[in-house]
Symmetry: C2
Subunit: 140 residues, 2 copies
DNA sequence: CTCCTTCGTAACAGACTAGGTTACCAATTC
DNA sequence: GAATTGGTAACCTAGTCTGTTACGAAGGAG
């Protein structure tokens, strides 16, 4: 499965919550829209909660709701909450330090990759959950 | 392993070839710098060759060399050659079409994600293999 | 106060991915 | 023709992720 898998699922979860403002939705309700298991949704919501994007309430009549207005939640925040960003990934084996290439390729590449990832995040930050909801309603 | 793994390895391979201009390097030589198996390197080089970035020669005294000057190879081309880009990845299970969110979230998100990936690729396209080699030599 | 609902999380099974390895054929040079 | 090297298939292994079950913690309903 691709790397955006958790991210797209997390946005889906947030969109479901945004579609029912002021209500507490159970993980089972959200899981029905995702067509998956409630525990999978709870795992996503735990990450979103740790990032301060959603609030949860336990017990009877409990559930999840957005912690902020949809216009104050951008896609970069969701991606940051869900995709544990460990920086650029290199091969499991460290390169041979004998050659100049092997010795310095990783930090050099890491800088260029980080620059590209920053550009990607900036583009995601331009889109809020409210924008997503607007596009969703335009499609329907 | 992260998604950039094949990409970083491919850039490493190209950098090794660029460090020995006019020579044909065997997969075993390149693999020594990567500290991995020759077959893994050959798989990477096969993808790079299909994209027209490297040329191979079989038989005795055969090997690989860059097909263009390092200044004419940018990181976006390497990423495109190696990372089979299947577009945004969604959850294995299709969302429930009962709700508006589940029915239209995927195409809406795909557009926003594609915009972000385009920004990332554009940043990678600004860096050529010659830039990488220059930075490498500056570090040494 | 007790029970029921729901979140929070650990633990485990299954599918899938990717790297590593071996093996063998094709092509090229000497 | 023999040796070398790329090209590629087949398989093994390790790691990751989803899905599932299970159980404890928290909070409301009666």
């Amino acid at each position: 499965m691709g790397r955006n898998c958790r991210f797209t699922a997390a946005v889906h979860v947030c969109a479901v919550l945004a579609h029912h403002p002021g209500e507490d939705l159970t993980s089972e309700t959200v899981a029905a829209s995702l067509n998956t298991n409630p525990v999978v949704v709870r795992r996503l919501l735990a990450a979103l909660g740790a990032a301060g994007l959603v609030r949860s309430k336990r017990g009877s009549a409990g559930g999840y709701r957005l912690a902020r207005a949809p216009g104050a939640i951008d896609l970069a925040a969701i991606a940051l909450a869900v995709d544990d960003d460990d920086g650029p990934a290199f091969a499991p084996n460290p390169p041979s330090p004998v050659c100049i290439v092997g010795r310095f390729i990783q930090p050099v590449l890491a800088e260029f990759i980080e620059r590209a990832e920053t550009a990607r995040r900036a583009e995601l930050a331009r889109v809020t959950l409210a924008d997503v909801m607007e596009k969703l309603r335009a499609e329907a």
